[in-house]
Symmetry: C2
Subunit: 242 residues, 2 copies
Amino acid sequence: MAQLNYRSDVSAPEAGGDKPALSMEGMCRDILARHEDTISVRNPSIAVLRLKRILVAALDLSNSGGFQAMSLRDLSEKSGMSTGGLYAYFDSKTTLLRMILAQVTHVVETVLTDPPEAVTDDPVAHLRWMVDAHLRLTEDLLPWFVFAFMEAKNFPPAERRLAIDSEALTEGLFADVIKTGIAQGQFRSETSELLPALIKPLLQDWYVKRAKYRRREISLEAYSGTVKDIILRYCVPNAGEL
Amino acid sequence: MAQLNYRSDVSAPEAGGDKPALSMEGMCRDILARHEDTISVRNPSIAVLRLKRILVAALDLSNSGGFQAMSLRDLSEKSGMSTGGLYAYFDSKTTLLRMILAQVTHVVETVLTDPPEAVTDDPVAHLRWMVDAHLRLTEDLLPWFVFAFMEAKNFPPAERRLAIDSEALTEGLFADVIKTGIAQGQFRSETSELLPALIKPLLQDWYVKRAKYRRREISLEAYSGTVKDIILRYCVPNAGEL
DNA sequence: CACGTAAACGAACGAACGTTCGATAGGCGG
DNA sequence: CCGCCTATCGAACGTTCGTTCGTTTACGTG
C-alpha cells in the first residue's frame, strides 16, 4: 500500500537505526555475505552501497503493487542502475526475492530465540517479551515484513515454503512458552491448543494494516498492550488482577 | 463447434449448497443481474451457465498463483471457452476482478447486518452470533474470500478501496455491538477500542491459513469456540464462568 | 429447409516482460 | 601513457500478456 512511506532516499533515517544489525546497511552486509557466489561485484564497499539502493527500491516498489508487478525496468530506474547492471547483484528476479526472504526469516529466528535471562523463568514475562520483541521487530523492519509475508502467497513454491516455515517456527516458539506455562500452573490447563496459531494474526495485523493504525494514531505501545491483555486474560486464571 | 464439450460436472465446489443465495448458481445470477450492461450475452440461462464455468475457473486459478499471474489463456483453457469468447462476459480483466469483489462484499454486508431477533437484545449473544456467522460465511464462500482479501493488495487503487471499505464495514459492526455491551454493563468499560480491529484478523486466519487448519484437523466449531472464548474472556468481567 | 441473429472462435497485434551480451567507462598497477 | 580488469551500460531478443476483430458455428423462426 502506498502509505507505507518507506523513503527511497538512501540517506534517509534508517530502519532499526540504533541496532546496527537491523540497519539497512547491516542487513545488506548480511545478504552480500550470504550470496557471494551469485553477486559478481567483488569490491564489498561498492557492492553494499549498490545493494542498499537496489533493496530499498525493490521493497518500496514491491510493497506498492506487488513483487510480480514490479518490473526490472522500474527497479532499474528507481535504483539508478541499468537493467543489465542489476544482474551483477542477482541472477534472476526470483533470486532477488529469495535474498530478501532469507534475510528476514534469519533475523526473526535470531531475535526471537534469544530472550533475556531475566525472562526465561517466568512464562508470563516470557510471553510478554515475545509479543513486544515481535512487534518491535516488525516495526523496525516494516517493509521487509510486508514484503516477506504479504507477498508470500504469490511466490514460487520453494520460496513460499520458506515463508511458511518461518511462520511455523515463530508459532512453535509461542507454543513452547505456553506449554511451559501450563505445566508450571501459571496458565489455565484448558488453554486451547489453537492459541499459538491465533497469536500470530494478532501480531501480523500491526504491519499488514499498518496504514490503518497510523491513520488512527495508534501507538505501538497501545497496540502491544492490548494484544498482551487479550492473550493473558485468556490463558491466565483470575486475570482481572493483571 | 470445434472446442471442448461443456461438461455439466463442473468441479465447482458447490459452496453453501443448502443456502441457494450462496450457491455458485445464486452468486452467478446476482453477478449477471449487476452487470447486464457489460455482459453481451442476452440469454440468461446460457449466460449463468458460462459465468459459472468462468468464475469457478477464475477463483481456482487466482487462488493458486494470484490474479495477476492468471492469464486469460489459462482462464480460457480451464473454463472451456476461447480467449475472445471470454470478452462476451467482461470487457477487461479488471472488470472480472470487480465482479467477484463486488459480489462478495455484497454478500458479507447482507448476511452480517441481518442478525436474528433473538440475539439483538444481548450483546454477548450478538457477538457470539457475529463470530459464528462470519466464520460460517467464509467457510461457505472460501474461494471467494481468499480471492477478495488475499489478492486485494495487488488490485488497482479503485478496487483495493472496495476491499478496504468492506473490511471497515465489518469492523464497524463489531464496534457497534461492543459499544452497546459496554453501555449496558455486560462488557468491561476498560475494553480497548482496538478490540474490533483485532477481532478481524482472528476471523480471517481461518480462511487465510485454511490449509494449515485442515492439516491439523481443526474443526470450524473448535476454531469458532476458541475465538469466542478469547474475545469474551477479554471483554466480559469474571469471564471464568462462561 | 433457408435465413438471420446470437454466441463463440482463434489468429493476430502492440506492448511489456525477464534476460542476454557486446560495447564502454573508470581506476589502478606497471 | 598504456593495458587490463572491474563494473556498468542499454539495445536487442524471444516470450507472453491483454485485447481486438473478421470469421464461423449453432439455433429459433418463418
